[in-house]
Symmetry: C2
Subunit: 229 residues, 2 copies
DNA sequence: ACTATAAGTGTTAATTTTACATTTTCACAA
DNA sequence: TTGTGAAAATGTAAAATTAACACTTATAGT
């Protein structure tokens, strides 16, 4: 086929993944010590380059898997960063993706053979290039999403307590929630099932475990309900 | 400087601009008849290619200016589209940008020498490649933005009537608004100045003109107020 | 001066959001 | 066995916001 584009510039396109995990009280992100120049040894997001015949979504998953062993994670495209000198090594753009994962569930995958590690976002480690900017943008996107979609459940174990859910939302939104109002709100959404099981690790009384009911949620969305915390 | 990226693929990166304008009752977008292959003669967004040493934001403005004569428009990045066969001519990604402009104000710029024309989004013309998908995404972004930022004012003349503002929001949100509630809401935001002038073209009684007070708005935002229609 | 037409204006009910404190349960220690 | 400490569970009333709704006013043109 004839193409008319042959005098246009071709450019390196990187991808960087902001992987959020939640651990008791804190939002964490997965970072890696960069083992090649430039900026070798500094902390970086999980990143790599797009191949010629790859969809960005695929590339993001390939890169995540290659560097962490984690797979089958739903990632969402965040933004394409394009400052001319953003990478001192060579001119590259980078499309950032972000995802939420449940730390425990993926810790088997993320084992010793990978250099990636969890860092609390409250400690805000300094990253190479424009990666801090990427993280900031991801956090604000996460906040916006968290109040309009039940996105947070991805960060919790399958069974969780109301307290854990509340802590999670407090971490994402970075603000305290009133316990009773929070529980009432969640219950009114009617997308959780209360199990006949208690978590006994946090108190003598024990607290009931809940599960997110995806089918119920999907059905409600179909009927035009909007989730809003 | 030494670079370690030399075995990575380089890729063509296009940009496409979704330019919204508003005209009495309808949201419009600016489209162009494509004058080169592939898909020559079909309708397309305003598009072009990123150059090696250009920021995406710059490129979007350059492309818009080149194809329409319109300049100094604030465009926001929307999404990067990357289906492998999205352009049958050659493998390209495309980063979409969108902007809101005031049709009258830019019609002098957009003169005969340019092929770009306004099309109502309600007529939903069929576009090349994945451009319809881009437009859909831009519209939903626009809706989300419109209820949380006073973004709509960019689409109106400097002086406008409440009726025009209401029509605009009805077009963006695609739903009727109650006249009294709408006006009360807008007034309670307290970011408009009522002028001592009337627009006499639409009724015998005439209707007062208003102006958006950007300084007042910025000051309020600084004090932590959130605009929400 | 009459008429036709769009502009302009407020109130009440319904819903949602916020603030807030006591009782319950149970493991463990005495 | 009884008592104690610690977290879990629970409801209501006030405040704020949103939604529904219809008549009066101003004016140009006849």
């Amino acid at each position: 086929m004839l193409t008319s584009y042959n005098k246009e510039d071709k450019i390196l396109l990187a991808l960087d993944c902001i992987i959020f995990g939640f651990d008791k009280n804190d939002l964490n992100i997965l970072l890696i010590k960069r083992d090649f120049e430039p900026e070798k040894g500094k902390l970086s997001l999980i990143g790599g380059f797009l191949k010629q015949s790859e969809h960005l979504d695929e590339a993001a998953n390939r890169i995540l898997f290659t560097l962490t062993g984690i797979q089958n994670v739903y990632m969402e495209q965040l933004y394409t960063f394009s400052k001319v000198d953003r990478d001192p090594g060579e001119r590259t753009l980078s499309t950032a993706y972000y995802a939420l994962i449940n730390i425990e569930e993926h810790n088997e995958q993320l084992n010793q053979q990978f250099a990636a590690q969890w860092y609390s976002i409250t400690e805000a480690p300094e990253l190479i290039f424009d990666h801090n900017e990427m993280v900031d943008k991801a956090i604000s996107r996460l906040r916006r999403r968290a109040i309009s979609k039940p996105i947070g459940f991805e960060l919790l174990p399958e069974k969780f307590t109301m307290k854990q859910l509340q802590k999670l939302y407090e971490a994402i939104l970075d603000e305290k929630q009133d316990k009773r109002n929070f529980i009432n709100k969640i219950n009114s959404l009617d997308v959780l099932v209360k199990l006949n099981e208690k978590d006994m690790t946090s108190s003598r009384k024990g607290s009931f475990l809940y599960q997110f009911d995806k089918e119920k949620y999907d059905a409600k969305v179909r009927d035009g309900f909007t989730f809003k915390i």
